[in-house]
Amino acid sequence: MTQSTSHNSHSAPATGPTSRLVGILAEFSTPDQLVDACDQARQAGIRRMDAYSPFPVHGIDPAIGITRTRLPFLVLAVGLSGLFVAMGLQYAVNATDSIGPFPGYPFLISGKPLFSLPANIPVTFEVIVLSSAFATFLGSLALNGLPKFANPLHRIARFRKATNNGFFLMIEAEDPNYNPRTIRNQLEQWGAQSLEEVHLDLTDHKLPSFVRMVFVLLLAVCTLPPAILYRSLGESNTVPRLHFNPDMDWQYKSQAQQVAPDIAVGDEEERPMFRDLRAMRGEVPGTVIRGQLRDDRAFYTGISGAEAGLALNAGGASYVSIPNAQDEAPAEPDWLTQFPSNEKFAVNAQTMQRGKQRFDIYCAVCHGTTGEGNGMVNQRALTLNALGRASWVNAKSLHDYTVVDQPVGRIYDTITNGRGSMGPYRSQITPEDRWAIVLYVKALQDSLADAVAEDEEGKWVPVRTTPPAPVTEAEPAAADATTTEAETTEASGGQN
């Protein structure tokens, strides 16, 4: 059964200074024989040996004297660092304003904390697993001394069975108990089927120098693209950046008060995004904007009964005076004479306070805090009139008999849509506030019903006027550049 050959099959002579004896390789036919042989060698005092088998042979570790690997501790250490790296990264990136030279990016989402364990655990877990897996793989390779492509064992043809169905034991020549004369007999005694010496080839097999140069050059060239990329994308620049796909730099967009964008492609004819050319879209017919359902029409228009619906559908009638067209005043509708009452508005002291506050903000600048038509804007505008630098129409006194006799719906409508040279306030004041102002105006009128005031000539006259015998026509408001400013605040005038 023993067929010992002193040299392996490869052509180079394994003698002289070109090679060195590494050890002796013995083949066994079964894993059990291999374990037995390892055991015997160990009892014979041999320590420097290793077994080779196509699969892990159980029980061979104590026979050879293999101690438990430190790999688990390495993996534990790397896994723990993974824990701290992942937690630290998430904290630095999402919960601080800057990490080193780079800005942090705290996401404020629904008032949730920037760093909270439950939300940060998934990524932490994955990083731990990933780093531990790499530690396991690379650590086991490093401990095994892999990759190792130059191994004298690979030069022995028989050794190729070690990955198929052969079981080998190699005893190293450097072992103190290695005796070149007796080792062969010993191994045969322990059941070796064949024996071969393993030689390390000492001849020079270095790569040609130009290969190394080419490799270094290639490596240098490989670093260029990332460097260029970083240069153009990562750093601060004074010139426009390299932009691979500027797909989102130019987009169709609609701007307020402008026509719809042209979305024609290539040589196509002009094609507006909307057929009516408007960029701002109107309401879809038959729909109501959220919160704008105005089913209590009397409340919103100040007009009672069926006419209210017409006024609303027409978008609110305008009584703002237009020069040259003022004798075409529409017929007076059926104004509300009583204050409306619903969940938004009720006549009470609180509403009165609200009405006073709103009146002082929006109305008093022209009409004056007592409603006598002597607000600050009015006074200034009259001064400018006197200097010939404005053509201001005097703000109406709310104690004028024409106003005192008006139904509440009519006053509400004046605030809403404007009248004469007074502009509309529907976009500034909410309906319930307009009604509150009406309430306050009524209270003002009542409070000064019997009051007197000094006029320009120093005479004491009643604040509330009475209808004169001949009806006087007020001058139409002149459309002049200098009055524009005054008009936009508040000015009441005209024939009413």
Binding site: Y52, N94, N120, P122, V123, V127, A133, S140, L146, G234
Partner: protein
């Protein structure tokens, strides 16, 4: 010499007096090696391999063309539109990720439970995992729309963007989970393959093969010291991969469950998704291995007992999935939330009733046939049932994704989702990619983990006289 038992033996019956052998055919170590290596060493693969490869490559070509079309035109070429922003691409992503789970379950969880029968099938199943994850990663990768800025998904510091990802977002968790899963699966697969690659290297007859397999096997010699650390490393990797595989589909389910959409916002999703993933993965393993074992003559290594065991797992996970479908309805009703209840009623009886009942039939009713031993031991019947299971599992993801999105909170935006030809073509094309990779794997890499199979063959404490 160690040999396995004779081929006439039916190893699907359990004899209480002795363990049924896992490998049949009377093979010894050398014959196990040649059975596996002959696939790569034969001068030409079987004709069926060429036919399948040609079909797969055509599908890959179609996939590539459609991807180019998608990238040049934008994601509008898909059927996704408001409010169904997640259409087929995400359905396909979840489907493929799920398929992958069986591979890791076989290689890691069954390893920790010392289920030795896994050794014959784990290599192919792990390969399937990696290829499935490649197909899965493709879809969200292009679903982001602007693929040239895909690096924004990762925490890379740039002054240009001046922004970091939101680490509390499930979609970012998904990037980490699927990325880790793909990486760790590949490491695990490669680590397990090292000894077998060394076998290929040592048997290689031409210079190129010896060099390529030599580099891939990293100089593995099978030394006892190396085996010791290798086994420890393999165990640690299995212990890492086990919670990982459970976490991956859990996190995929978080993509849905952490949002507040009725039909998605539910705590049952993580276990339900994991069970479904294992269910579909095993079905895919059977679909691949039954033809592969016939094509490459692996019947003695991948025996009927292996296939039967997988059928049993399919029945078990199929029942779990069926239980989840049922309990979802109970939870929806018990929540007392009207939209939630309505969503589930809509699923089963609304416009997508056909998808729901396809899912239910394929996943819950059809696998019940595996209760019959005759069905469990008939390969063609297994393949047919497993194809149904995979159809059902695709529909499960479709039902979850599309039915919830099509009926969002605003009834005026309800609509009926329809895929475009790009959706359908890319899904079919992804099978081409998967099959191409699998066929290449069968031809050039060790399909069965030879070293592991040899280690579970009956050899310990037996002496030569027992056999010869």
């Amino acid at each position: 010499m160690a040999t396995t038992i004779d081929e006439v033996y039916n190893n699907t019956w359990d004899d209480p007096r002795e363990r049924s052998p896992l490998i049949t055919g009377g093979l010894d170590y050398g014959q196990v090696t040649t059975t596996v290596t002959s696939i790569a060493e034969s001068p030409a693969p079987p004709r069926a391999w060429y036919v399948l490869m040609a079909i797969s490559l055509c599908l890959v070509g179609m996939l590539g063309t459609l991807l180019l079309h998608l990238i040049l035109s934008g994601v509008g070429v898909w059927g996704n539109n408001n409010p169904t922003f997640w259409g087929w691409p995400i359905v396909n992503f979840v489907f493929w990720v799920g398929i992958g789970h069986a591979g890791t379950l076989i290689s890691a969880i069954l390893f920790l439970f010392r289920q030795n029968w896994r050794t014959s099938i784990n290599r192919a199943a792990e390969a399937m995992t990696i290829f499935a994850v490649i197909c899965a990663g493709l879809f969200p990768g292009v679903h982001i729309g602007r693929v040239w800025v895909a690096y924004w998904l990762f925490p890379i510091p740039t002054e240009h963007l001046a922004m970091w990802p939101n680490f509390r977002s499930p979609l970012l968790w998904d990037v980490f989970a699927v990325g880790t899963y793909a990486t760790v699966s590949t490491l695990f697969w490669y680590m397990g393959m090292l000894p077998d690659l060394a076998t290929f290297r040592d048997r290689a007859t031409n210079k190129w093969k010896r060099m390529i397999y030599g580099i891939l096997s990293l100089g593995w010699t099978g030394s006892a010291r190396a085996w010791h650390r290798y086994e420890m490393a393999y165990t640690i990797l299995a212990a890492l991969a086990t919670p990982l595989v459970l976490s991956v589909h859990t996190i995929v389910s978080f993509d849905f469950a952490v949002s507040q959409l009725p039909g998605w916002h539910t705590t049952i999703f993580p276990p339900y998704f994991v069970a479904g993933a294992i269910f579909s993965g095993f079905a895919m393993v059977i679909t691949l291995l039954v033809p592969a074992r016939a094509l490459f003559n692996l019947q003695h290594l991948i025996t009927m007992r292996h296939l039967e065991n997988m059928c049993k797992i399919i029945v078990a996970t199929g029942l779990m999935v069926g239980f989840a479908y049922t309990i979802e309805f109970f939870v929806a009703w018990y929540s007392g939330v009207k939209t939630e209840t309505q969503t589930f009623v809509m699923r089963a009886f609304g416009p997508y009733w056909w998808a729901y009942w396809t899912m239910f039939t394929c996943n819950v009713f059809i696998p019940q046939l595996f209760w019959f031993k005759k069905v469990r031991t008939t390969p063609w019947a297994m393949v047919v049932i497993c194809i149904f299971v995979n159809i059902g599992m695709w529909f499960e993801r479709f039902v979850i994704t599309v039915t919830s999105l099509c009926r969002d909170f605003l009834p005026s935006s309800w609509w009926y989702f329809r895929p475009t030809y790009v959706d359908i073509g890319m899904f079919i094309g992804s099978f081409g990619l998967f099959m191409t990779l699998f066929l290449l794997f069968c031809r050039f890499l060790p399909v069965v983990a030879m070293a592991e199979v040899k280690s579970i063959m009956p050899h310990e404490h037996e002496h030569e006289e027992d056999h010869h």
